[in-house]
Amino acid sequence: MSPILSVRGLTVCYPNADQPAVDDVGFDLAPGATIAVVGESGSGKSTVALALSRLLNPAVSIRADALTFEGHDLLGLPREALRRLRARRIAMIFQSPFGSWNPSRTIGAQLVDGLRAAGLWPERRQRLLELLKRVGIDDPERRLGDYPHRFSGGMLQRAMIAGALVTEPSLLIADEPTSALDATVQAEILEILDELRKEQNLALMLISHDLGVVARVAQHTLVLYRGRVVESGPTAALYRHAGHPYTQGLLAAVPRLEGPRKTPLPAMPQGTATIGGCVFASRCPRAEELCRTSAPPARRLNGTDVACHFAEDVRREPIWR
């Protein structure tokens, strides 16, 4: 099946930054499939999401060898066409539930705005109410008249999901959709997302710093460090044979209920530009001279594409446990 979203060599530069925030990122997403983009804060994962939907400030430069969605070149699309695409085909949900809603307008007014933009008001009204009920909002008709401060964070995120899916988009970009919520709500929201994805044959791009979340829903995972893909592959393979020290570090940082406390990753060093070398070299215990001078190319190893000179060694003798 041909991919719905195809990204090649995506590079994003903020003005006055000495390093690109996203550097040569590429992946494909098939209809109905799920891909996760993981990394710490500052790894560039949210920038990838915003670049795809062209929601970055116009002063930010976006380059790519290819950025196609359902046959449209996202970079060359005129404003109005792009707006229509956002209204109907690409939906997004964001991290902060309270910030993402206008505090002075009712939930209903804001959701209706989206439907109007998509040209689906009022015929999708009933569908919106159904979806709201479906994501767990009781008495949706009455709740639509409420202002955001009457909702909890989890409820706002549920309403956001209903609003995103009511237009039946083919791609949903979810940028840390559950990070601001407590663990039980998090699980529920993920479940709802995954169910609806299956029903609507929706391709999902999930952005998260939490590998535990990713493991539950994504078939494919992309690990981003300082704007570069350090490792990518099927999520299961990535878990079993992480070949990049950074992937291992992230996995080791997932909290567990049992067993010894895990080793945390050392903090991200500030402002150390790694020109020419591996982006992770300054933080990697395994780094050698080679890592500081030459950037490792991505290569296929046991099912994942890993960008590390010593991936075989790292896999044999994991660095973090």
Partner: protein, 346 residues
């Protein structure tokens, strides 16, 4: 039903509380001015009696004015008179101060209302346009206007306008307000533009407009910049909020995002500022009225302060305070209309 009655009751209570606050503030202001007017080393009796008066005459005038009484007695008498609406006589005009004020106020109101409407509306619109189209040649003009308005003092703007448009070009009169003499226009409101408009005679209306133009322009130029820049920065700040990104991600049109989503949230500081400006407006017209010999409250205040006309000064302070606190209280009622969270908190 009880719920509603309770709500009406609490609303009444709130109204009474704010009224009590207003009265308290006014009382404090009145008392402070009273004390200040009595400890200033100037002798109103001497001024009232005139320069030629001898010591006996001054003493006589002092007794007549009650200034020989103890301070507490004077204060009590002053407050008592105040409650009956008696503000005393002006030393300069020999008229009751209340009559002076009632004659002067309409002229000032005309200036204030005309300029306020213009700079509030233009300032808000220009600020929105600036935030909506942040790049382009028009920003140069807006930036220029903003700098002029903030940096250049009122009297300078007024004088330049007088020199250029009244002196050189002779488009507008140099000074004075609409002259009723010989026009047959009845003095209904005391505001030239309104009274001539009531007659419906275009040449007269034009004349009233001509006298208004320069003083109003001076006030507009010097007040527009603040409204405009505040509106712009406030709206720009809102347009950076995550909810705007959400709306964009939903494909909502940019115009709708600006006018329906962001604008309402950005009005809060602008309303605060416009409220303060209206509250200060009585003080703000002093310089303009003096420059343009506009026979309003500002010029009256200027003359009263120059001559130490203490009854007038106290009345002026009283009126300015009342206007300021009343406007502030009214502005406070606007916020809940802008923010639903405040509405529910009431």
């Amino acid at each position: 039903m009880t719920d509603r009655r309770e709500r009406t009751g609490s609303r009444l209570l709130r109204l009474l509380t704010s009224l009590a606050w207003i009265l308290l503030v006014v009382w404090v202001a009145v008392s402070v001015t009273f004390v200040l007017s009595r400890i200033v080393p100037a002798d109103p009796a001497r001024l009232a009696a005139g320069l030629d008066a001898g010591p006996e005459q001054v003493a006589e005038v002092r007794a007549e004015m009650g200034l020989d009484q103890p301070l507490a007695v004077q204060y009590g008498r002053y407050l008592g008179d105040l409650l009956t609406g008696d503000l005393g006589r002006s030393l300069q005009t020999r008229q009751p101060v209340i009559d002076d004020l009632l004659t002067a106020l309409p002229a000032s109101l005309e200036l204030i209302l005309a300029s306020y409407l213009i700079y509030a509306v233009i300032g808000i619109l220009a600020g929105i346009a600036w935030a909506y189209w942040p790049r382009g040649p028009h920003t140069l003009l807006l930036r220029f206007g903003a700098v002029i308005g903030v940096a250049v003092p009122v009297f300078w703007v007024g004088l330049v306008l007088q020199v250029v448009f009244a002196g050189k070009l002779q488009w507008f009169p140099v000074a004075g307000n609409f002259d009723y003499e010989g026009t047959g226009v009845p003095k209904v409101t005391g505001m030239g533009l309104v009274d001539t408009a009531l007659t419906g005679q275009l040449p007269l209306i034009g004349e009233a407009l001509r006298t208004l133009t320069l003083p109003v322009a001076t006030l507009v130029v010097t007040h527009l910049a603040v409204t405009m820049t505040l509106m712009r920065s406030s709206l720009e700040e809102q347009l950076k909020r995550p909810y705007v990104r959400t709306a964009r991600a939903r494909g909502v049109k940019e115009r709708r995002i600006v006018f329906v989503d962001a604008l309402r949230n950005s009005l809060n500081p602008v309303v605060t500022m416009l409220g303060l400006q209206l509250g200060w407006s009585l003080g703000g017209v002093v310089i303009v009225e003096v420059i343009f010999s506009w026979p309003g409250f500002g010029r009256y205040a200027y003359q009263a302060f120059s001559a130490f006309d203490y009854n007038a000064i106290m009345a002026i302070t009283l009126l300015s305070t009342v206007v300021f606190v009343t406007v502030n209280a009214l502005v406070g009622m606007i916020y809940p209309m802008l923010d639903p969270r405040l509405k529910e908190a009431r």
